[in-house]
């Protein structure tokens, strides 16, 4: 029983971190009907921003490493990541949506370079891949084939993969390939309750996650901008007709989603302090599963999905095989797609004819 309660605590705290990341997927999907596959990399970016802020001499000397310092690190990293989210939306997705010339060609070039480098890790194959991608992109843009029209979902998906590659490889260049160790911005206390050992870090992860989700819910439910956000996610054209500047709402959605992912990145780094530029891939995919499980586009669903995925993962490790740790999320994905593709809270989509 004690072990079970222990695992429960671990699962809830892991799950609330996934929930924070899942919120970004689901909110962006809500307004753009797009899976932002670069979202896991924003989570990584957030963790690195936290790392650099926490190691910043000025911040250390002015706020110390107390709670105030931790708050500054957290809020600062969230703000910087929100900025990254806005940049991604503005310079990758918005040109893609409006069908700006050469957007698809540019990002296909980057995806091509990535594939080229994967096939054979040399500069030449990278260049060949890039050129091939650009060529295909230009041909598609010029002929305007229906399935790959500039503003189609397929081209947005290609852009998403391109952005993700840029962030991962850019991260390796800027932050270095070797892992770094996230500083303890809040000291750990162990509480002993009966047979249970409760790690204060886990409580903090849970508390901060709940606080952020609560704030998000209040924002979306009661503010004018939050209502506009719900309107945009329900019907883009109808929202425009209300006089809502939908581009601005979409940018804001990216900013909020990115800030939440950054918070997730820092919270997870409190528990597992090893950070590296590819650290976002796996949590990103798992949070995506969480968003689908909860019903993509549904904010409450994303929170619930995150908790379930985190809990399932911790329980699988605790009571099953720890090697299944990463597999469990994908088993959930397969099950949900087979049994209830719209997700737990999602409604079936009625295609309009």
């Amino acid at each position: 029983m004690a072990t079970f309660l222990q695992q429960l605590i671990n699962g809830i705290s892991q799950g609330s971190a996934y929930a924070l990341i899942a919120l970004g997927y689901t909110m962006v999907y809500g307004v753009l009907r797009l899976i932002n596959f670069a979202h896991g990399d924003v989570y990584m970016f957030g963790a690195y921003m936290g790392f650099y802020l926490a190691n910043n001499k000025w911040i250390q000397s002015n706020v110390g490493t107390s709670t105030a310092g931790a708050v500054v690190v957290m809020v600062g990293a969230m703000a910087l990541s929100a900025g990254l989210g806005i940049v991604i939306e503005r310079f990758a997705y918005r040109p893609g949506r409006s069908g700006a010339r050469f957007t698809l060609a540019f990002w296909l070039g980057i995806v091509g370079a990535g594939i080229g480098h994967l096939v054979h890790p040399s500069l030449i194959s990278l260049a060949i891949g890039a050129l091939g991608g650009i060529l295909v992109g230009v041909i598609l843009e010029q002929t305007g084939l229906r399935p790959v029209r500039q503003n189609s979902r397929l081209s947005l998906l290609i852009i998403a993969i391109g952005v993700s590659l840029v962030l991962e490889n850019g991260g390796q260049q800027v932050f270095g390939v070797d892992p770094k160790f996230f500083p303890q911005i809040i000291s750990t206390t162990l509480w002993h309750v009966g047979e249970l050992t409760i790690d204060s870090q886990k409580v903090i992860v849970l508390a901060v996650s709940i606080l952020l989700m609560l704030l998000l819910n209040l924002f979306v439910k009661y503010t004018r901008t939050g209502k506009a956000m719900r309107a945009v996610s329900f019907n883009l054209d109808a929202a425009r007709l209300m006089g809502i500047n939908t581009d601005r709402i979409i940018a804001l959605t990216f900013a909020i989603g990115s800030a939440l992912a950054a918070a997730g990145g820092i919270l997870v780094s409190l528990l597992y302090p090893k950070i590296d530029p590819l650290m976002g891939i796996m949590p990103g995919l798992k949070a995506f599963v969480a968003a689908v499980l909860g019903g993509i586009g549904n904010i409450t669903g994303a929170m619930l999905g995150g908790l379930i995925v985190g809990m399932a993962e911790v329980m699988a490790v605790g009571y099953g095989q720890s090697t299944y740790r990463d597999a469990i999320a994908f088993i959930i994905l397969i099950l949900i797609l087979l049994l209830k593709p719209a997700g737990i809270m999602g409604k079936g989509v009625v295609e309009k004819v």
Partner: protein
């Protein structure tokens, strides 16, 4: 001499390779109800969507009180005083009736003014008050149409565009909606009405245009068109 409120000059619009409007020209004077009738796919909705910038025109000019709308995004066009109740109502099903109306006044900062406008909408459609805290998606078709028109009125538009407001409604509700259209117009709002119910539309409008496959084929005072043998045969179901 009446003042021209909206003018379309040889406007063409397309969805990808499909040309939906082929050089449409029309004008609406201040204070009028003008109706646009035609078969399915004639381009009626596209005309409204072009005016509001949802489908930016490929060529031609759209002028609202002399200002060119072509290059403006929808939210700026709405800010100029044009409002639209779109086809299929497009109610925000996950928002309450009150929230739907609030969003209609998204660009209006004056809370007291909005409050008064909300009262006006309720006077027009008392049914909405009974559904106040209900989610938009739970409303009946007729109530949703009332909400769509009420929401469009919340921005206090000078020009109101209505896309098929009677579509799918029982005869009694059609009557209610058209009575409301008359009332809105009497209070000073100019209206462009798109309808497949040509009979009612011609009865409740001053002038009419007939649209066929993206072009205007006939125009004139509504009463005159209602008596035109070609209109009677093609749109009023008479032989």
């Amino acid at each position: 001499m009446p003042k021209t409120m909206l003018e379309l000059k040889i406007v063409s619009s397309s969805y990808g390779a499909i040309e939906a409007l082929k050089g449409v020209s029309l004008r609406i004077e201040q204070g009028e109800i003008v109706t646009l009738i035609g078969a399915n796919g004639a381009g009626k909705s596209t005309t409204l969507r072009s005016i509001t910038g949802l489908v930016p025109p490929v060529s031609g000019d759209i002028l609202f009180e002399g200002q060119r709308l072509n290059a403006l995004p929808t939210h700026k066009i709405v800010a100029l005083g044009i409002s639209m109740a779109p086809e299929g109502r497009a109610i925000f099903a996950n928002l309450t009736v009150a929230e739907n109306l609030e969003l209609g006044a998204y660009l209006q900062p004056d809370a007291a003014q909005n409050e008064r406008q909300m009262d006006r909408v309720i006077t027009l459609f008392p049914r909405l008050a009974e559904r106040w805290r209900q989610q938009g998606g739970t409303l009946s078709g007729g109530e949703q149409q009332m909400l769509a028109i009420g929401r469009a009125l919340m921005s206090r538009p000078r020009l109101l565009l209505l896309d098929e407001p009677s579509l799918g409604l029982a005869p009694l509700l059609v009557h209610t909606i058209f009575a409301a259209i008359d009332a809105i117009n009497k209070e000073g709002t100019t209206i462009l009405l798109v309808e497949q119910n040509a009979n009612a539309a011609l009865k409740h409008s001053h002038r009419a245009y007939v649209l066929e496959t993206g072009s205007i084929v006939m125009e004139g005072p509504s009463q005159q068109l209602a008596n035109d043998p070609r209109v009677r045969e093609a749109y009023l179901g008479e032989k």
